[in-house]
Subunit: 307 residues, 2 copies
């Protein structure tokens, strides 16, 4: 890793973007902000050995580093605008690796009309360290938080769940367009992207909204990957707890749910919507199976400080 | 490091701030943005062993992690508003260390009325990794870039330079208030904060502004620390090349320079302004000593990708 050469190369890759008033190269970047719009911010740090293995390759790691942030913006039904990318790169990392990484990250950003406006690149003796901070603005009806679900609301989810470790956790498509389309179509009461797992993230929704929920086991869309995981846990357990699905979990009123399930407005994007339960007054989260009903704990990985 | 416990603790530390519409705890944070103001963004990654040693202690490291970003905002004469803080913390790091770090970082942010609105905290097996992204808004006359210096402009600098490694690089005060005061008083043509060293950062200013400069050796304010560094290099060399002074280097017209030097408007803040040279038409950067004149190379550390 020739640090200076890489930094020079990165700056040559900078693309024009109508919102960027001042790109990388000064003390700060400057981005035009529309009147009356709050600034939405999310940030994720990806650490080698803990969040990814180098063997996944620079393209998939670059893509994931941008996608996890885009997924957080999607969870607010917001529009991503600009990002900064800071890197700690091992001295012995080939420059070709670092370049392939950046090009992939930037391509994923460009797919969502998002400009890379700066960062901080360092060669060091530690493992690969990636920090992306993404800025976005609300669309139409404002940001959709985790806290607006009401008892009686329907619980919906996009796509299929579980088995992400087989590849989806690297190659997923952040549901930015899907979220905006849903936001235009109905009143979204609350939304979250599934990073920790359906069970854990449903707990987050319930906690922030001050209500409980019941989930109908038979209605949960179990991904093919979850079916293929050949281990002690059932496909249902994988769908509930694997995490890194990066699908959207949302609360809408019952009538809107019926309409969404009937019309499937995300079909054109190749995404299915499933109605998997409802929010309740009680503080509990319950899993309903045909023959029994039991409390559903926050399975899976439950960290998260804000963004 | 009990990751979950630490994250819970961090969230308890979150302070109210009038600009924060949605604090840490949702998919994104939301910050109120004033009409007609661009968003200024800067980010710095601090890596253990490369940017700091753990022995410096959590207080000084936390303070520095916030201050280097505040210094970039100062260099645009802007006002810091909010920040996100991502951390990679070794599994064996005591929680008391992590807490002292965060409190110090937050105290330094609060000194400049800056809210911590989120982040991403991970325990891992690598060294301490800190990434801070800070956003701010321009003051009065808009952001001051690196590119507005004109031939004939005077070159001014705040404070004293050199020997930062003896402690100043950890304990410096970012020149946020100083920059705003100068911005109100005169027309600032260009400005940069000295992180790579006077020589290197003057090269940055000249490069972006498309001009050259001459620096008067005898006028350079050499810090006491640079005088105390007892090694093969002269105090002048230290002042030119040590870096991490985090003082402001600025271009103003000659008449404004005379006025600033005479009135010393930063005196109330305990900061001196020195007139150390002028910008020229030629592309070169030259060091003038009483008996000779020679090209001044970009000594010191010259990386930097944008922010």
């Amino acid at each position: 890793m020739a640090e200076l050469e890489y930094i020079r190369w990165i700056r040559e890759q900078t693309r024009q973007h109508p919102r960027v008033l001042l790109p990388a190269g000064d003390d700060c970047a400057a981005v035009k902000w529309p009147n009356h719009q709050p600034l939405l911010i999310t940030t994720d740090m990806l650490l080698e050995g803990s969040c990814f293995l180098r063997e996944a390759g620079p393209q998939r790691i670059g893509r994931k580093a941008m996608s996890v942030n885009l997924s957080d913006i999607a969870a607010m039904a917001a529009k991503p605008i600009a990002a900064v990318v800071s890197l700690g790169l091992p001295h012995d990392l080939p420059q070709s690796w670092a370049e392939a990484f950046f090009l992939s990250l930037q391509a994923q950003a460009a797919l969502f009309d998002t400009a890379i406006v700066g960062g901080d690149t360092n060669a060091w003796s530690g493992p690969i360290t990636i920090s992306v901070t993404l800025f976005g603005e609300p669309t139409g009806k404002g940001p959709v938080t985790r806290s607006g679900a009401k008892p009686g609301d329907a619980l919906l989810v996009t796509g299929g769940l579980g088995g992400s470790i087989l590849g989806h956790h690297l190659d997923f498509t952040p549901r930015v367009k899907e979220a905006q389309l849903l936001h235009q179509t109905v009143e979204l009461h609350a939304m979250i992207d599934i990073s920790d797992g359906l069970a854990a993230d449903l707990h987050h929704l319930c906690q922030e909204s001050g209500c409980g929920a019941e989930v109908w086991a038979e209605a949960i869309p179990i991904s093919e990957s979850a079916q293929r995981r050949n281990d002690i846990n059932s496909p249902l357990h994988h769908a509930l707890s694997d995490g890194e699905d990066f699908e959207l979990l949302l609360a809408v009123n019952e009538a809107d749910a019926q309409r969404l399930i009937k019309t499937q407005p995300l079909k054109a994007l190749g995404v299915n919507l499933s109605h998997i339960g409802r929010f309740t007054k009680e503080g509990e989260v319950v899993l309903k199976e045909p023959d029994k009903s039991q409390p559903l704990p926050a399975l899976g990985y439950t960290h998260q400080f804000g963004q």
